[in-house]
Symmetry: C2
């Protein structure tokens, strides 16, 4: 797809932060003109849909400063440096919910905001949960919720769940994991 | 959910751009300690799943500088100032694909990256398409693809479609729009 490519002429670092970096890329467009692209660099993230033996989904409620409110999500977190996604997903699951697992099934990876960010989320599902040890980051405060698939679907319909990865995971469960 | 709230102590503007702004928020955590949150402000966006009479999905391929590659997505774009989401979705659909519609059905809205950005995407579906006039932005270069649902699902399985909104929309079609 070479005819769509945008060649970088110059990259300017605007900000290097804790979770994200911002850079401006001056690009040459396919027609030879130039433009500026705003690009957020993100380390990537993992997310897990944990399903208990009784069919309940384990979700978390967390305050998101960007939204100025708490929202319901599947357990998730960013990749640490050089961390293997599957191990990161196991770590985040236990830290956030107190459940641990040794068997995660990979569902897929997706970009969340390709228009301006390179964040890639690796999504897993597990039905094999045992009680572990919750241990959130020092600036992380989380409520754990256990709800069945039907309730989760209702929360999506009512726009009370409105996080892309969570909606995708719940739809996935509906398609592939319905049977308890 | 007051016990999860993070009160803003101070907001520092780092960057004001064409599509995104970046600000740092010093917050008071629920336990009284403080932390810094990196927040991307985005105007919000719309996306449309266009389904032709013969069942084909109309998708677009576009170079995404943040990813350094072209990816396949449903037609989408950011909201202009004070623009009504449904009208924005009609506009983007026609601009990007050359198809127009007067009847969009709202599927739902979702945050794409709540950990660091306030981007909210409003998603629509339409089965009512007529030939209009494509007209991309001056820095936008797009290929239009028409593929059936089964092919689209295969592309997801093969990780050749790996954009969250697009995967969600295709899954939605599989659940609710299968019948031609």
């Amino acid at each position: 797809m070479d005819h769509l490519n945008e060649k970088t002429i110059k990259t300017t670092e605007i900000y290097k932060g804790k979770i994200i970096d911002l850079q401006l890329e001056e690009v040459e467009l396919p027609d030879g003109r130039t433009s500026i692209r705003e690009v957020i660099k993100h380390p990537g993230a993992v997310a897990v849909l944990p399903i208990k033996e009784d069919g309940k989904l384990v979700l978390v409620r967390q305050y998101r400063k960007a939204l100025q409110k708490s929202i319901i999500e599947i357990p998730a977190g960013k990749l640490e440096e050089n961390e293997e996604p599957k191990l990161a997903a196991m770590r985040e699951l236990e830290e956030e919910t107190g459940y641990k697992t040794n068997s995660l099934t990979f569902i897929g990876s997706f970009y969340t905001s390709p228009g301006f960010a390179d964040e890639l989320i690796h999504l897993y599902v597990t039905r094999d949960l045992e009680v572990g040890q919750s241990q959130t980051d020092e600036d992380e405060f989380i409520d754990v919720l256990e709800i069945d698939l039907q309730e989760a679907e209702k929360l999506i319909e009512e726009q009370k769940i409105h996080d892309a990865k969570t909606m995708y995971a719940i739809q996935y469960a509906r398609l592939y994991e319905k049977k308890g």
